[in-house]
């Protein structure tokens, strides 16, 4: 029998191991201690919410879940489908179920705000309904952003309601707006691009470049990805002066950090030169960028 044919059995086996450990691990009196066997009688891989649910991914077979029974378990299985089995269809379905069970509109989850805290600024150990989870929303939004950018934007909005300071979410929002713009025409496209610009700026505002920042890091700009993408939006809108400005910030931000696509750095220099030349003497020349 080939390895691949053994795999479903092995997955079940691993799950069985987790269950076995959950149920047969013993809390013992000293007289029955068995090295290598005596172990806590609660599965250490299954976190008990307190009051937040674990925002991360646990090796699914270690959880001992047969059928998901709540939003967190659906999220975990969805991530297993997506990351381990490359099954985005079932992942999408599980994320949607998770969202329906951890839903702000339906009141099945809540935002934790100052009013959630008790009189002594203490977080209650349990919250009913439970806190809204950001991973469910981020995962689902990423899967639907090409087919339904409006839903993705709505989900990102909920993430920012949960955690307004969360880095990267405004960028994801902006990217969804760009997708929306590319799928639209006319005023709708322009509006979407304008919304993207606002979202990119919101991202930059979360990690401002201050004197103190520069003194600590020697950086005079940051968020190179945002500046690169923002420059592209400006260029698309024909706002070349703004595009040049963003490309210059991109170069500053990459000075000590390079880029995952390092050729963008000389390309940005080239683009700045060309765009600046165009600004000085408008012409019909165009510069092509890769499409996101």
């Amino acid at each position: 029998m080939r390895t691949r044919e053994l795999l479903p059995i092995f997955l079940l086996t691993l799950a069985g191991t987790a269950v076995a450990q959950t149920t047969t691990g013993t809390t013992t009196t000293p007289g029955t201690y068995i090295p290598g066997t005596t172990f806590q009688n609660i599965n250490p891989n299954y976190p008990i919410a307190n009051p937040f649910y674990f925002e991360g991914k646990i090796d699914y077979e270690k959880l001992g879940i047969t059928t998901p029974s709540n939003f967190w378990e659906y999220l975990q299985r969805g991530m297993h489908y997506q990351d381990d089995l490359f099954d985005t269809g079932d992942a999408l379905s599980d994320y949607q179920t998770a969202l329906s069970l951890n839903n702000l509109q339906k009141g099945s989850c809540q935002l934790v705000t100052a009013s959630t805290l008790t009189g002594t600024d203490t977080l209650p150990a349990t919250l009913s309904p439970p806190p809204c989870m950001f991973t469910i929303r981020l995962r689902l939004a990423y899967l639907v952003r090409q087919t339904n950018p409006a839903q993705a934007i709505e989900l990102y909005g909920e993430v920012l309601q949960i955690d307004p300071q969360r880095l990267g979410v405004n960028t994801l929002t902006a990217e969804a707006y760009v997708i929306m713009a590319q799928q639209a025409t006319g005023a709708a496209a322009t509006t979407a691009y304008q919304n993207a610009i606002a979202a990119y700026k919101a991202e930059l505002a979360l990690s401002p470049v201050t004197q103190a920042f520069t003194a600590l890091t020697a950086d005079t700009a940051n968020n190179s990805k945002v500046h690169w993408e923002l420059a592209a939006v400006y260029q698309t809108l024909g706002q070349n002066a703004n595009a040049v400005s963003e490309l210059q910030l991109y170069l500053q931000a990459t000075q000590w950090h390079s880029d995952v696509y390092p050729w963008r750095i000389p390309l940005a220099q080239s683009m700045i030169a060309q765009l600046t030349a165009q600004l000085k003497a408008p012409a019909n020349s165009t510069i092509t960028r890769e499409k996101k």
Partner: protein, 722 residues
């Protein structure tokens, strides 16, 4: 859709074996019963030198182990312990039986080691680090003058103090200051706090750390000190102090004289030989409430003691495939089988995990040797048998961050060179640096076979990385939120034009620690997924606990261009750095200040909740221990790589030439440089003590932080279709 693959032994691994492994947790060890106290006559704890005449080899090996002397003088360990005390107001230092400290009116006169069960969080905190690193010395503090004194003040200064007049950071010394003595055995403190040992000083028993006696006086697990009565964490060991020395042999040879007797207690022998012996210190459970995973002490009276899991290594092994027969070797493979054997210098094994054909060193191969020096160790020179013996190198992934002269000045002139050439009689390198590099080389394998076969200019293609940990625990383990393994990936065309990179570092200035220009050293650079500077605190009088004086929060925290970990985990995005590092997180609650300012200079306060990586174990209130690689579990990571368009290539004056070359390799980083810079600053002259504590600085980071690159690698080519 694909199915996940786990390992299979190439030919003789059967379904029956799989089912057995899963449906019944096979006993990993023969039931033995609990350890007990010893009925032999008492004996003071012995310095390792007293064991040397008969156990020369073991002495030499242990000397080079970081868990013996080095850890007690380690600048990083000492700096970490200092920083935790700054934040808490000295709560991590031990109290002893004569303590007059109270907690809500209840006397606090036991520390972590002497509390069984632990019923107060403060008991858990008291000696939190010191207990595993020097349990015997801590225990002696109850009956003799403590080596590490009780602090005379705890908490914020003034009326809010928890004890005395409050904690005094200006007089606070790192633990290592207390481990030197003069020739009469009297404690000799360095003239300056944290500074070089006083002239003529000698290492004391406290400098020796985990000595022969710590392990060989074992009585068994102290189950009630562990939170689940299972012997995990909290240094949950019964340490006897008698002439009964527990070794690994069932029928030991009688020892000459009355220095010690070799134990014949089967339960103690079995415990010493088991992986469970390591559980007491290789699970580290920090007494901070985890806001994502409620865990509490289950012992009677202990329910108010909560914790999160910092080091989770023993649990990982306990529930992992190597504590079963469901692994490529078909038998339980213990801690000792890799860290006390000839591994990884004893030949290779071949097996398959997922899509990867693995060639990896074989564990559990032990040398044949005498357990003691023939001719001096037995009565009447009774002949010693050749036995299967263990190594006492305890090689892990750590090496000293001190020079040889510093090591020898603190730990004695016979302290071995980290880079000592040659091999011992068992064929193992003397050099701990060489051993750890070889160990790392055996830890992980990667493959790229799932990568797309072809792509086009301007197109997007998928690089698929498959990674498998071969370790008995997750990889990396231990202080796994700072120990760092990551994948460096590049895509180049056939002319070497770099199209994509991930897991790269850039030489840059670090003005916060005085490196004002790039220094040509890449070992002191962080990977580019986030940019962070940790607040080291400041010398502010009066002293107060918390972040105001002591920092620990992030002064700078922003996403970098290679932001893989968060994008991959939370969004499922196929891009950016693949990082096998667990993460400490601070969940800020509504109204909390992040500790940095907005563009207008106003403090940023949290309106909802805010999750942010923290590089301080003391400041963390939750942890993600699932980012490291799970043993024998193939894990896949995709990189969606976009090639430049033809127009962009034209602007660059580049013509892409196929095939494209994808290269991936795993690199290992001792600690993130930003973490070491935090330790440098918080223990530096501008930190809470207002004085240089002589532990870490930029020069030390530059000199000793050495990354191990390319511990495993994979390559694949991708056709470029015109």
């Amino acid at each position: 859709m694909r199915t996940i693959q786990h390992f299979s032994i190439l030919e003789n691994f059967t379904i029956l074996g799989l089912l057995l492994g899963g449906t019944a947790l096979l006993p990993a060890q023969t039931p033995q019963g609990n350890g007990t106290e010893s009925f032999f006559k008492n004996q003071d704890y012995q310095p390792p030198e007293n064991c040397l005449p008969c156990h020369q080899r073991q002495y030499n090996e242990l000397k080079s182990s970081v868990k013996s002397g080095y850890r007690n003088v380690s600048p990083l360990f000492n700096g970490l312990e200092v920083s935790g005390n700054f934040l808490s107001g000295g709560l991590l230092r031990p109290v002893y039986a004569n303590s007059t400290v109270t907690v809500s009116g209840v006397p606090l006169n036991t520390n972590m080691f002497t509390s069984s069960p632990i019923t107060l969080t403060r008991q858990d905190q008291a000696g939190f680090c010191f207990t595993c690193h020097n349990a015997v010395i801590e225990r002696q503090g109850d009956t003799s003058t403590p080596v590490v004194p009780q602090l005379t003040g705890l908490g914020s200064a003034g009326a809010a103090a928890l004890f005395g007049a409050g904690f005094s950071p200006t007089t606070f010394r790192p633990l290592r200051d207390y481990v030197e003595v003069d020739s009469n055995g009297n404690q000799l403190l360095p003239p300056t706090i944290g500074g070089p040992p006083a002239p003529g000083s000698l290492p004391s028993l406290a400098a020796a750390g985990i000595t022969c006696d710590v392990c060989h006086n074992i009585g068994g697990p102290d189950l009630t000190r562990s939170f689940y009565q299972d012997g995990f964490g909290n240094m949950s060991l019964i340490l006897n102090h008698t002439i009964e020395k527990v070794g690994p042999f069932n029928f030991p040879t009688a020892v000459k004289g009355d220095f010690h007797v070799a134990s014949n207690d089967q339960s103690k022998i079995s415990f010493l030989k088991s992986g469970a012996f390591c559980n007491a210190c290789h699970d580290v459970r920090v007494p901070n409430l985890d806001l994502q995973h409620l865990e509490s002490n289950t012992n009677t009276g202990g329910s108010s003691v909560h914790y999160y899991r910092l080091e989770n290594l023993s649990t990982e092994w306990q529930i992992g495939p190597y504590n079963s027969t469901s692994n490529p070797f078909g038998k339980v493979t213990t801690c000792q089988d890799c860290h006390m054997s000839n591994f990884p210098f004893a030949g290779n094994s071949f097996y398959q995990v997922g899509d990867l054909n693995i060639t990896s060193p074989t564990p559990a191969v032990y040398a044949q040797d005498f357990a003691a020096v023939p001719g001096v160790s037995t009565e009447g020179n009774y002949p010693l048998p050749l036995r299967q013996v263990v190594s006492h190198y305890f090689t892990g992934i750590d090496v000293p961050l001190l020079s040889l002269s510093e090591l020898q000045s603190r730990l004695g002139p016979d302290y071995p060179d980290v880079f000592q050439p040659g091999t011992d009689t068992h064929g193992l390198p003397y050099s701990i640096e060489s051993r750890r590099e070889a160990l790392l080389g055996a830890a992980v394998r990667i493959g790229l076979s799932g990568t797309d076969a072809s792509t086009t200019v301007g197109g997007t293609f998928n690089v698929q990385l498959e990674a498998v940990s071969l370790t008995g625990h997750r990889f990396p383990a231990g202080f796994s939120q700072e120990r760092t393994a990551y994948v460096q990936t590049s895509v180049t065309d056939n002319n070497g034009f770099l199209i994509y990179q991930s897991g790269y570092v850039v030489d840059k200035p670090h003005p916060n620690t005085g490196e004002d220009a790039p220094d040509g050293n890449l070992n002191d650079e962080d990977i580019e997924h986030v940019h962070a500077v940790v607040n080291p605190g400041a010398f502010i009088q009066p002293y107060a606990t918390g972040t105001g004086n002591n920092g620990h929060n992030n002064l700078v925290f922003e996403l970098g261009p290679d932001n893989g970990p968060d994008d991959r985990l939370y969004s499922g995005a196929p891009e950016g750095l693949v990082l096998f590092r667990n993460e400490l997180t601070r969940i800020f609650l509504p109204g909390d200040s992040l500790g940095r300012t907005d563009a207008n200079g106003n403090p940023i306060k949290v309106a909802g909740v805010h999750y942010e990586e923290t590089f301080s174990a003391s400041f963390a209130n939750t942890v993600d221990n699932y980012r490291s690689l799970s043993p024998l579990r193939p894990t896949f990571y995709n990189y969606e790589v976009t090639l430049p368009t033809q127009a962009q290539l034209s602007a660059l004056g580049i013509t892409l030439v196929g095939p494209l070359h994808v290269h991936a390799q795993v690199n290992f980083e001792h600690f993130p440089p930003l973490f070491t810079r935090f330790i440098a600053q918080t223990t530096g002259p501008n930190g809470p003590s207002g004085a240089q504590m002589n532990l870490v600085d930029e020069a030390r980071i530059d000199a000793y932080l050495k990354n191990i690159t390319g511990i495993t690698a994979a390559d694949v080519t991708v056709d470029l279709i015109k």
